[in-house]
Symmetry: C2
Subunit: 220 residues, 2 copies
Amino acid sequence: MIMKALKRGETLETGDGRGIPGPDVTKGERTRVRILDEAAALASEGGIGAVTLGPLADRLGMSKSGLFAHFKSKEALQVEVLVRAAERFTEVVIEPIREEKDKAKRLGLFFNNWLGWIEHPSLGSGRGGCPILSAHFEFDDVPGPVREQAANHNAQLYALMRRLVYVALPQADEKAMVAAIDGLALSHLLRFRLMRDPAARKDTMHAFEALMKNPPLKVA
Amino acid sequence: MIMKALKRGETLETGDGRGIPGPDVTKGERTRVRILDEAAALASEGGIGAVTLGPLADRLGMSKSGLFAHFKSKEALQVEVLVRAAERFTEVVIEPIREEKDKAKRLGLFFNNWLGWIEHPSLGSGRGGCPILSAHFEFDDVPGPVREQAANHNAQLYALMRRLVYVALPQADEKAMVAAIDGLALSHLLRFRLMRDPAARKDTMHAFEALMKNPPLKVA
DNA sequence: TAATAAAACGAACGGTCGTGCTATTAATCG
DNA sequence: CGATTAATAGCACGACCGTTCGTTTTATTA
């Protein structure tokens, strides 16, 4: 397999959305990504609040100070972890639905991908839950840049969902519908992770299908 | 107003569910309740993880060690905070619905009370959100007694909701219905607290009414 | 390869955390 | 009241936190 040499700053797209940094990317850039991925895995298990420098450095086999030098503060690191997780979310949950040519079917596909992400977020070695949703509840009342980033990501997600709803069910009230769908995803997270209910997915899908069949309608 | 003297261990029911400890209750018992209430207020603002001995002692105007002496460990304190919050939840959200004699209407009443609690949980001086739901997402992947307590409380809540659903809509699939209702409450929390959407309640109620009109049905 | 810049390290800092002790004060009861 | 017990304070500890700094190692480039 012949490939042209990568110049600095280029990345080899691998299709899984992760990308392999080219050899001429500065070393700092490479470890920076390593740090963010491992931090996301950590956040996946114990929430953003669990992203702490000591344990993170241990996992990466490097020193606290060496790690810290990549970021201006711990808060900045936490924000970047959320950004990175949001990128992965886009790649795993959102991007793939564009392959469905029947646009009306995209909403169902999106919801399905989302449930998959909630059950198994593709974040490094983490076997835990989605750090984005955790952050939403962890920081919903804590002012600061983390809260802003969380709210910002959620706003984008809501906007996307409203568009998907409008295309799939033009007669439905978009905002009420988004509330219902978002809610089903959140409740699924609880029943799957906290309650460990083996029937969680079945129940979620049953409710979702009923919702699609009889959505809240626009008010006249 | 004449009242009989309270014996030790008795509490004067005030109707607001809080109760005034009788004068013969040991002082330790009284401050213990004070601690739990203030801790719940703290948890309300920054999650259970924010219930930390130093700041809590400051708020109460007492020493860290004096406070700590009331509990075997910080973890035990956190669990008791959740228990206390769950008690208040029962008093504020669940108990009042028994006054509705038309049992079919109780589900709607419950949901309404729940939204009120989510917007303004009656927990001491805290102006933040519901510490129970925060704990669900904060500890859904963190093993330990806090997680167990959270899961336990949620299980009871789900059981109650299933019963309410069965009475109100016998033809509905209880578990799917619970998923949808639970989800609407969770999503409401996000739209109300994180997004600060002034229309949150309207959208939530719209979706809820559509759900009541066309619930997911039992499978044959 | 030598010169230069980037990255990682090790040690230390002030601070806060949870948790033991011992002494002291306050509540309770005979 | 005085005697006894419960409640609180004061203090110290070891661990970990985020952060800084000066040094050393490793990449990069000329």
